[in-house]
């Protein structure tokens, strides 16, 4: 067999990757949204956490360690040669903040999916992204038969900053999922411009 060393850093062989998170309560449609816009069938990656990682007392002695598995579904969109966007659904269980920190690190922004029948389910995600100052928008997934509210009613119910977009969507549809992502990236650009203005004001 012919064997050689090659230089994969040449050309467009190694793309730069960016990521966007899709958060929200259990069963709100995170994986559906990832699947609707992804160019690949959503993949699942898992991390195994010992009791130590989930914040229980440190137990010395391997025999006492317990393990739990946290799973994340993700998809991919090729933006252009050399630039790839990954979409990660956040794990539903709120106790896995450890994993959320890793997911949020370096993310461009997040979509928080909400279901008007269980609006409170998205509160932990909103709190988390507000604390981390990660730009996010709300996507209200309109399930069949669910009561429809307009975005202002939902904004009021969530007590959101008026600048945070709230859009109605059907995440099973590719076009709708795409619009949600476009709205998020436009919002991230607006947030960055705002932060730069504020920083500029402080300097002066």
């Amino acid at each position: 067999m012919d064997s050689k060393r090659s230089d994969p850093s040449r050309g467009a062989a190694m793309p730069l990757a960016v990521k966007i998170l899709v958060a929200g309560g259990f069963g709100v449609g995170k994986t559906s949204m990832v699947g609707a816009v992804s160019e690949i069938k959503p993949l699942r990656t898992e991390e195994q956490l010992t009791d130590r990682s989930v914040g229980v007392d440190d137990v010395s002695g391997v025999e006492r360690k317990t393990t739990t598995t946290v799973a994340m579904d993700f998809g991919r969109i090729t933006i252009r040669d050399g630039l790839v966007l990954y979409l990660f659904g956040t794990p539903g269980q709120d106790r896995f903040w450890f994993m959320w920190d890793e997911l949020a690190l370096g993310a461009l922004g997040a979509v928080v999916l909400a279901d008007t029948r269980r609006l409170a389910d998205c509160f932990p995600s909103i709190d988390y992204f507000e604390r981390r100052r990660l730009p996010f928008i709300i996507g209200v997934n309109c399930f069949d038969g669910a009561l429809r509210y307009d975005s202002e009613e939902i904004r009021a119910a969530l007590d959101l900053d008026p600048k945070i977009p709230v859009i109605l969507c059907d995440v099973r549809k590719r076009e709708s999922g795409k619009q949600v992502l476009i709205t998020l990236v436009e919002h991230v650009l607006a947030v960055m411009a705002e932060r730069q203005r504020q920083q500029g004001a402080v300097v002066r």
Binding site: A13, T45, R76, I182, M192
Partner: protein, 120 residues
């Protein structure tokens, strides 16, 4: 949380046996979206390389993210990071890390993402 794991928990012992009990890579830098590319064919692999190392080399001839390697290998991220750490040490892979988190994403990059989404 139970000390006893059922079938749904998947293979727990074996993955960490692959890493000879190591739970952390000796090198940091394998973010979920770090891109891994094979830099040399497996004939350069040292004798200590296992079938999983070789499978990753075969897989990353077309560059893939750490998350994709984990999903396709059906191995937990922690295990994959240890294996990637070995491969990097052997000089068999190249890694392209994402933009550092300590600065905001740059405007040009965001606009490229926006244009790309609009063109979908």
């Amino acid at each position: 949380m139970s000390e006893w794991l059922d079938d749904e928990a998947g293979p727990v012992v074996r993955p960490y046996a692959l890493t000879r009990g190591r739970t952390r890579s000796s090198r940091e830098g394998f973010e979920l979206i770090a891109i891994i590319a094979t830099a040399a064919t497996s004939s350069f692999a040292p004798a200590g390389a296992g079938p999983e190392h070789l499978a990753i080399l075969e897989m990353c001839v077309r560059p893939l993210s750490v998350a994709e390697v984990s999903a396709k290998m059906r191995l937990p991220l922690g295990v994959v990071r240890v294996l990637l750490g070995d491969l990097l040490e052997y000089g068999l892979i190249a890694v392209r890390r994402p933009e550092p988190d300590n600065r905001l994403p740059n405007e040009r990059l965001l606009k490229e993402v926006l244009n790309g989404l609009q063109a979908l």
